[in-house]
């Protein structure tokens, strides 16, 4: 069965400091893994996607995530937080369904960035 757990419901960092948002997944086979971001009153934007081509995935806005099979983790990081990074972040796992893929969402992590 596919599932995803975001380990922190809320993370607060200071501007210019590193960001770490943690995600563990459960999958019976090799999953596709995503991080999406949702700014207040906005839709979801794809940050990055893991598809087994490389364990370190670079995304938009300086974010990256590392797939660690031994730890079943897919943590999201950024070296230096910016005020505009304040948003809700979702870790998502997919299993292939027909020609597309159903997505299973984690509960989300709210990132706050202090000046």
């Amino acid at each position: 069965a596919q599932s995803v757990t975001q380990l922190d419901s809320h993370v607060s960092v200071s501007e210019g400091t590193p960001v770490l948002l943690r995600c563990n997944y459960s999958s019976s086979y090799s999953p596709s893994l995503f991080w999406y971001v949702q700014h207040p009153n906005k839709g979801l934007q794809l940050l990055l996607k893991y598809t087994s081509a490389a364990t370190l995935v670079k995304g938009i806005n300086g974010f990256e995530a590392e797939f660690k099979k031994s730890e079943t983790s897919f943590h999201l990081t950024k070296p230096s937080a910016h005020m505009s990074d304040a948003a809700e972040y979702f870790c998502v796992v997919s299993y292939f369904y027909n020609q597309g893929g159903k997505l299973i969402f984690g509960q989300g992590t709210e990132l706050s960035v202090k000046p």
Binding site: S32, F34, Y36, N41, K42, G43, L44, Q45, L46, K49, F90, S94, F96, Y97, N98, Q99, G100, G101, K102, L103, F105, G106, Q107, G108
Partner: protein
Amino acid sequence: SAVISQKPSRDICQRGTSLTIQCQVDSQVTMMFWYRQQPGQSLTLIATANQGSEATYESGFVIDKFPISRPNLTFSTLTVSNMSPEDSSIYLCSATSGVTDTQYFGPGTRLTVL
């Protein structure tokens, strides 16, 4: 990536009425999906909108409450029927293109039921 728009962006409705939400994609897509995001919660898949056939509903969601249409490869509608305050949520449309599981999302429709 597909660009997805939704109408309306928000609405306030009375209990017992119905609202139809439209989802338009700027290119032909393979799959379309409808999600619900209750206040302060994550996203839950309602159904997969199938072109030319009945939608495939997830556990806990039924056609009588959430009828869905998908008349072509770029357009879908979701109706929230006989609304109650518990239906107050953000409803999001998404789509995939080609043989991929990457979904792109619309901006959502924020529904408040009084």
